[in-house]
Structure formats: C-alpha cells, structure tokens
Symmetry: C2
Amino acid sequence: MPKYNALYAQSGGVTAVINATACGVIQTAQQHADKIGRVFAARDGIVGVLTEDLIDVGLESPADIAALRHTPGSIFGSCRHKLGTLEKNRLQYERLIEVFSTHDIRYFFYNGGGDSQDTAAKIAQISETMGYPIACIGVPKTVDNDLPFTDNSPGFGSVAKYIAVSIREAGLDVASMAQSSTKVFVIEVMGRHAGWIAAAGGLAAETEGDAPHIILFPEIPLDQEAFLARVQLCIKKFGHCAIVASEGIRNTDGTFVAESGLVDAFGHKQLGGVAPIISKLIKNNLGYKYHWALADYLQRSARHIASKTDAEQAYAVGKAAVEFALAGKNAVMPIIVRESNHPYRWSIGEAPIAKIANVEVKLPRHYITEDGFGITPACREYLQPLIEGEDYPPYKNGLPLYVKLKKIAVAKKLEKTFEI
Amino acid sequence: MPKYNALYAQSGGVTAVINATACGVIQTAQQHADKIGRVFAARDGIVGVLTEDLIDVGLESPADIAALRHTPGSIFGSCRHKLGTLEKNRLQYERLIEVFSTHDIRYFFYNGGGDSQDTAAKIAQISETMGYPIACIGVPKTVDNDLPFTDNSPGFGSVAKYIAVSIREAGLDVASMAQSSTKVFVIEVMGRHAGWIAAAGGLAAETEGDAPHIILFPEIPLDQEAFLARVQLCIKKFGHCAIVASEGIRNTDGTFVAESGLVDAFGHKQLGGVAPIISKLIKNNLGYKYHWALADYLQRSARHIASKTDAEQAYAVGKAAVEFALAGKNAVMPIIVRESNHPYRWSIGEAPIAKIANVEVKLPRHYITEDGFGITPACREYLQPLIEGEDYPPYKNGLPLYVKLKKIAVAKKLEKTFEI
C-alpha cells in the first residue's frame, strides 16, 4: 500500500482544547507510519493550504506534540476564510488540488465549527467532482455548542466550566458587598445565536439563593418589565442579584439589546456590549449600584480551568478522524454520542459533514424555565457531565506552561503564489 | 487569667483569600481556649458591630471553618462604612464600646485595606481615650497591593496570578486569529490609583513576542501618539498586539481615560471603561479589528486559580493577628516581610496601624520600563514569588466546592438599635 501524507488545519474561533484535538490527530497519524507518510499542518487554516504555507509537524519533538493537549489557542493559526462555490471559484479548488498533489496529501483534517465544516464539505467533494482522491474528514470544534448530530462540541465543555466557575465566584463577591455597596452583578458571555454558554452559568446555582439568579438567553426576547421585577425580587429575597447575560439577547422587537442603546437618549451606539446596557437598565429603573464583567476571549482560552471531559473528547475526535480516514471514509465528521447519563458515558460516532455545515442548533425551549430566566433540570442533566473533571496544565514560575512549536516550514514547491 | 471573647470582621473590597485570613484568625483563636472565650464575627464589617449583628463562630463545624481557607468572597459580609472622628461621632464610639462590653469582647480583628485600617486605628484608640480595654489588631487585605510597610498585601498575589494567566491565555487566542481576523486584544484590570495589578500581567511575557506586548499604567500618562506607534510596531513584528490596561490610566491632562470619551465626537460619556476606549482609539487610528475584556469581580474572586503563596500569607496574617493580641499588643497590623528572593522567603512582622491608614503605595518608577509600556526585571523579581504555586480548591460536580456557614446569630442583648 502506497503511503500518502496527511494535512491538518484549524479554523474559526479557537477554544481551550482545539490543540488537544491537534494532538489527537498528530499522535494517531504518527502511530500509523505504515499508512501515513509525513504529517503536515497548514498555517492559518485553509488560507495556509491555498498559499502553500505548510508546517512539517514531524520535525517537532514528541514531548512538544504531547504538550499540545494542554495548550489553548490554535497552535497553527486559524482563519475565518470561507471557500466559494466550485462554480464561481474553480481556481481556488484547482489550487487546493495543486497543493495537495504536489505534497502527496491524500488525508485532510479540517478542525472547526459550522462554517468550517462547509469548507470541509466542499473539499470532500473534490475527489468526486474533480477526480483528486482525497479523504477529507471534518473534526468538530466550537465553544458555541451549536453543531448538529454531535451530543456536544469539543470546546464547549471548557467554556461552560469557566463561566459556571466564574459566576459562582463573582456571585460570592457581590453577596459580600451587598449590604452597603454593589447589589447587582452582570457577566456577559458568548453565544450570539444560541444560549448554551449562558445556560452553563446556571450550573453554579445548586441551591436556592446561589448565583446566578437570572440568566438572559438569546432564545428568549427580553421583557424589560418582567426582568426588572425579577431583579427586584432577588434583591428582596437574597440581598443581591447575579446575572448571566448572553451577548446575543434581543429586545421584544427582535433587535439586539447590544445595539439597542437603551441607555442613551441620543441614540448613540455604545461601545460595550450587553452587560453595561443591562446594568444601566437596572440602575435607571431600580437605582441599584452595579458591577459588570465581559469575559470575551478569557472564556474560550481558559485552559487553566478546562473540563477534563472536554479535553478527553477533544483528543478523541482527533484520534477518530485519523482512524476514519484510514478506514477509507470521506466527507464525514466524528461526533460525540451520549450513551448514558448515570454514569455519564460517551462514545464516538460519525455524521456526514455536508449536513453539518451552516446548521445552528439552539437551546431547546424545554431547557429553559417557563419564566425564561433559568435552566430546567433536563438542561442541568445535559450540561453537568460536560464540565466534569479538572485537567490542570503543568505550571512554571506560577504560570501555565504552554508549548510553542518550532513550526518549520515545508519547502514550497509551487512557482505561483496565490492571492487570498 | 480571665477569658474574654474575640470579634473578627471583614471590610472593604473582598479578595480570593480574605476567608483564608478568617480561617487563620478563627482557628488560632480557638486553639487558645485558655485565653480566649468565644469567637464572634460581625456581619458586614463594622456595620454589624454597630448594629450588634454578631455571628457565633463557635457553632460552626471545624471542617467548615477549615474550608474557609479555600472559599473566596467575604464569608461574613463586608462593608465600605468609615467611622467618623471621635469628636464628631462620639455616639458611634460609645455604641461600639457598649457592644464590646456587653459581649465581653476585648480582642477585635479588623481585616481590610487602607480605609479599613483607618477604622481599626480609631477603634484601637478607644482603650486610651475612652477607657475600654480592647486589643485592636488590623489584618491586611487588598488586591490593590497599595498598603505601606508590608512587602505585599494578601489578596494581591491571587489577582496578580489570575491576570497573568488570563493575558497569557487570551494572548494565545488573539495570536491564533490574527492572520485574517482580530489583531488587537485589550484586557482592563483593577487598580484605580496604582498599577500593581497591571504590572502583574507583565509576568506572562517571558520571551520576546509573548503577551502582553503593552501595559498601560495609572502612573504613566497616556501618550496617544507613542502608544499607537507601539501598537503598530507590535503588529508589524508579531502580527498581533495584546494589551493590559489599568482602569485608572489618565490622559496627559490628568483626566481619567475612562471618562474622557476619546471616541465620541459628541462628548457623551461611555458606559464601558478603559478597554473599549483604548480599543476604539486603535481602530479609529490604525484600523485593526479588536476584542476586549473587562474582568471586574472575576479577577478578585478567582479562588480557583489562587496563588499558593498568597493563600499561605493570608492565613499567616490571620494567625499572627491573634498571637499579637494574646501578646498584649494593640493598634498594630501583621505585615509580610520579604527575607530573600532566591529562594523566596518571607516572615511576619508588625506595623502601627495608625501609619497605615489612608496611605497608598504606588508602583515605583523603576518598576516600569523607560518607555512606560512594560515592567523591568526588578519589578518581575518583586512580583514573581507572589504568584508562585497553585492551591486548588476541592471540586464537586465539576465546580469548586465553596463552603457556606450556618452563621448562627449571637442573641442581641442591647435594647436600643443603632441607625447606620
């Protein structure tokens, strides 16, 4: 059996564990040296494939590759580049084939979310429509947890854990100060279209009075009156109110709260997002002193508090992707299948990438309490195993020891450069 | 020797380790049952003393008291209440004495920052000026690290570690995306008057190109032109730019950047703080896409990533405070004394609380690089030991297991209530 090379690339917004997937792909590919020749990585996702910017992963030390398992961010660089259709962008696809064939690449692993699986699906078609034999395997990743088929998306469990831990801790802070100072705390979390991350904050509330007291989901239009009444009730009952607000919450008229300028009589757009607007809404109507936080990249890069479940699943999908390719599969993506809740058990399944691309799975209505401000027991049962377990990175000088690779470039062989 | 009761109270902004100090005070006091009778805590700091809202700490289980060591926030509640002068507020002081004497309290431990030590200093005078024999020991705490005499303040090391870890992680995130998307990341950190927390972010940059690339200190007026040139240079050299900005940075005219509305031609005040203004300044002048984060309470409540050094010192000052009281001292505060840097060694010393109150120690100029955008080796040598070591809390269901106390109230004995 002739040996061909493998190419791995990362795409879209990064996560705390996408490099654990890289580790799974690379280690597994290297274990199959009988079938796979060299292992390459593209710099900056599909962009690096088009520009022939490839990294020779085989020149990295095994210890450094192993350390990818606990290193956040995207070690090879990511991108938000989408391939056009074959009809309109034939040159792009010809270029891809040129790079693949020049470097003997017949295994391609594209690690990303919904948009990225659209790219993977298009590349997977190459073997059929353009006659170049490539096994293209999508590898799931997204903090948004909005991919279909898979029970959950690698990357989500860790951001979920980060948000749940953070609101538990900040909730204790605001409770401490409430008697004479700040009574309201708002944390804004990611999730423009789906409330999965916001829902995860709800895991911190295990007994009555625990933070968060209110969750604002993008799936539930913000009823200001009901919301303010709930804040007032919380402060009456508990002395303070801790709120998790998704960046994607909308007003009842469908506009984004972040863009609605609720607080500015002149209609000028505000710089901040949802958290300051929600805070000011409370201050203006109820008069309470507030604090707010915007975790932004902190939440999705927080490898120091990654979920062990998430890190293990991220590695497993990378490993499975290589095994799929070696089994002769194409145009599929490994997914997480939930086998049972008590005890939590999962396995790896597969799904066709063409059906994954550009589908966004929202939080089901029965995961949100009837009043729209919290999560149901069913939601908790779904989310809880995903944040289970700690998986601490090693430390040096009081800081997590994240690996840097040598990233030695594969010599370019093509004469033409390619303009993105 | 007659036995008297001890009272402990927490004051000011809370930290990830102030309850470790509570644990040190309570466990040490309980170990001296031959000299100390009951151990009480005031609810919400000095406010609870005035209102006779005392908690009987002796009714908590030893396991729960031990768990305070790893529980963030202020378990007994904090406050921002300042006592007036004896001359103008004699009634307040008489009330304090009334509460102390009614409950046989002759040891008082006030755990807080500069403002709180002002309160402690005034109470310490009672024995002299009003004839009530009280041993009042101040116990240091502040994330701001701005107390005099002590080498560092308990609470600071943990927020320092949190910020250094966070900028390292978020820096990897922005580096990942920089080729085709976000190139600038700004995290806003606490420290309105002193740049200690901002400086701590600098610990993450160990080799050239590491985040953070720029630090903005409250001690250095923001020279917009020099700053923008530095951002441009960073992006040219490294492809991206990660910035730590103190909430307290000022323009060259002395006004706070957070209030300067740099980005709004109409002069309307912005809701966010410094981070969005700095981000927009870069966007408007250099055109780069940005992300920003505001950690707010997350940074000072992040017990999950507390510094082991900090947790140990926080416990030690609590323990020392009780030992000072039992040694007959009054009006002093235990401090951290740095014995050596290599290896890092520290011990407990003491300082007069009257000289601590309302003094703010700023970052010395020689801790900041000449260009004003980074920290010097001397600063790194000072800061590094303070973030050393991890001290993870126990976990349950994927979340840190923080203790809740029963907080059984001591029966009120005074007929009169007291209006704050």
